[in-house]
Amino acid sequence: MFTAQEQEFAEEVRQFVRSHCPAEVRAKVSEAAGITAAERQAWHRALHARGWAAPHWPLEHGGTGWSAIQCYIFAETLAEEGAPDLGSFGLKMLGPTLMHYGTQAQKSRYLPRILSGEDIWCQGFSEPGAGSDLASLKTRAELVDDHWVVNGQKMWTTMAHEANMMFALVRTDPAAPKPQMGISMLLIDLANTPGIDIRPIILLNGERTTNEVFFDNVKVPAANLVGEANKGWTYSRVVLGNERLSIARIGINRRQLARLKRIAGEQGLTASPTFRARIAEAEIELAAIEALAMGMLARVRAGFVPGIEANMLKIRGSELQQRLTRLLVEAAGRSAARHGAEARDPDRPWAHRLFKNHFDTRVVSIYGGSNEIQRNIIAKTLGLGGGK
């Protein structure tokens, strides 16, 4: 599949991870045990020092100039080795969008700080009544003198409590003929702006990874508008398109598969013909996902724009991730019912994390456009029902 040169490159990346990311951090990532913000930031700094924080960015903005294949090898090698994920919001979603639509001042200020990890971004898109149906969002922004005054509420704002910046969609023209047409994108300084209240949303697993964010007459400088007013909808499509590209989740699926094989082996389940078959089925699905992704990459390399293949990879990548966490739970059996470190099974000290992983993974078929929405998009692209 890969050339000798590409394999050499993969080896270089692997060695870098092993020498610059502590083994205990990688072990925690591989076990889906959760790492601290400090551990993530340390790894960000290490990558940044090497010039690898944003390989897919253009050289002029601090990227690497690598081919799509190299970027792919890099990302998957990191995921396979258990390197912490740097997060998508700044590096993958906002960064490329600002490069195309941001003002020169915005690019100069924000791109280097995304690259270095100095700014941590979150995404303010979803609202209580607007999840998959973003166009119905209600948060308002009015231009008063040289500030946008923002009022409303965002929801499912992942990591808002660790971020200092947010890119948000706000309604700037309530009278627009279509709801999509009255939306703008603003850059909001969460750390230094009065009127912002970030409240935790606690999931059943006991964790706070997401938030509600309330805006009460929050003043955002006019210069923080991305691109033109009332064109936020278009930019949001670009942002989400960028997210989608990384969402086949091949690296994490490969890691989870390795974990499943290890645990199944320890539990004697690789001797069970039915369980063997289910592991093989999952591994074959991963092989198919990789084959499609490689084909897509080859076409990207040839200048094509990835189309519905990306939606397909999102759907099946997330379904596979859910299948793998479920198989992990089954491999652990009743021990997986235990919750929290104090319930640790003395003989299977990893088992109490597995149901939590399984639960957490339910979100991957919901966010970034639910799998139902993905199928709608493919259907629409195919022109199905056009003869209605």
Binding site: L204, T210, S272, G333, E342, R362, S370, E372
Partner: protein, 374 residues
């Protein structure tokens, strides 16, 4: 023969059967009790409190006679069918009750069926009155199975039991142990063992039980053996199925309500055909799960052990399929809301997911079923 039409005025599947009148009254009483004791907040408080379950709820179950069902009248029991206990389990599954009703009733029925009159008199009245909770400690730690040996006039037990449902709050444990190549059962007061209590992901309680040379009197041993244990495990499995059916019904109701209320792209979610068909498949699985559980419950009241094992394994497999579909789709159709601690969807997902891991997984029961029918 009645002619059916497509326009049926009663869409919901009605699960009442002919022995239903008394059972229905009991169900309504239980629902009233649960409405009083099992609001979302009360359940959370019970989970977070030191005692962890609501003592008030347990007393209420005792007052309703739920802890007396089918037990000998001379010990304070009430005449009842196993299906009455299953009705209680199903109703509690709908409210996601945290107290160990199933473990206690399974242990009590095992005592009623297999213990000496003296042993019955020692334990059953306390259970019936709600003063004693019990649990069956069967699943061994592979590395340290529980062994029993003769020791003086009595018995000595050694080994470890893992993930005993209800073991955290049980006053009495019925412990299975290897004794001379057979399995024997012992009544062990919880005070005699070391236990590590904890919560499972669905907030129900469990414990690991360490028996570090526990000495017991001679009359701690139940006269019954493996057959009784096998029947008790089947009863526990069948009641777990009933509990899961209750949770499946609740999850379907919740999901239908949510998709009916919630609007997207200017329409209610339940007006999208893809979601309609998903809701229909969830309802079909509910109907099949409920029906096959009824069969298993009836088989537990019968005298044919093979028929019982077959029916119980069939129910565990089929209800497991339904639990998986309904649990996952309940979360999926709730969107992000489905993952949040403050709403029921995630709790139902957890309870249904853990059901699949309990009392033997799908593979175990498929293989047992195949061995009985192939």
């Amino acid at each position: 023969m009645t002619i059916s039409t497509f326009a049926d005025p009663a869409p919901a599947i009605d699960q009442t059967d002919d022995s239903g009148d008394i059972r229905d009254q009991l169900r309504q009483s239980l629902e009233t009790v649960l409405a009083r004791h099992y609001s979302f907040e009360q359940r959370r408080d019970a989970h977070e409190s030191e005692a962890r379950e609501s003592a008030a709820a347990w007393s209420a179950y005792a007052e309703l006679g739920l802890l007396a069902l089918s037990l000998p009248e001379e010990q304070g029991g009430l005449p009842a069918a196993f299906a009455d206990i299953a009705m209680a389990a199903e109703t509690m599954g709908g409210a996601m009750v945290l107290e160990p009703y199933i473990p206690t009733m399974v242990a009590a029925r095992l005592i009623a069926a297999g213990a000496t009159p003296a042993q019955q008199a020692a334990w059953l009245p306390g259970i019936v009155k709600g003063r004693v909770r019990a649990a069956l400690a069967h699943e061994d730690d592979g590395a340290r199975p529980v062994l029993a040996i003769r020791h003086g006039d009595g018995w000595r037990l050694r080994g470890r039991k893992l993930t005993v449902a209800g073991g955290d709050s049980a006053d009495l444990l019925i412990v299975s142990a290897r004794l001379d190549d057979a399995i024997a059962l012992f009544l062990v007061p919880a005070g005699a063992v070391e236990r590590r209590a904890y919560r499972c992901f669905d907030w129900t309680g469990a414990a690991d039980i360490l028996l570090d040379n526990v000495d017991l009197p001679n009359d701690a041993r139940l006269p019954c053996g493996e057959d009784a244990l096998s029947a008790a495990l089947d009863e526990a499995t069948a009641l777990a199925c009933a509990d899961a059916v209750g949770s499946i019904r609740a999850a379907n109701r919740l999901t239908r309500d949510h998709t009916h209320t919630r609007r997207q792209f200017g329409r209610s979610l339940d007006s999208f055909q893809v979601l309609q068909h998903r809701l229909v498949d969830m309802l079909i699985d509910e109907a099949f799960a409920a029906a096959i559980t009824d069969t298993a419950i009836a088989a537990c009241d019968g005298s044919d052990a093979t028929a019982r094992m077959r029916a119980v394994s069939a129910a565990k497999v089929r209800v497991g399929e339904a639990a998986r579909l309904v649990g996952e789709q309940c979360v999926q159709l709730h969107g992000g809301m489905g993952l949040v601690q403050e709403y029921q969807a995630a709790h139902l997902f957890a309870r249904l997911g853990l059901f699949e891991l309990s009392y033997g997984d799908r593979n175990h029961h498929l293989e047992r079923y195949a061995a009985l029918t192939l």
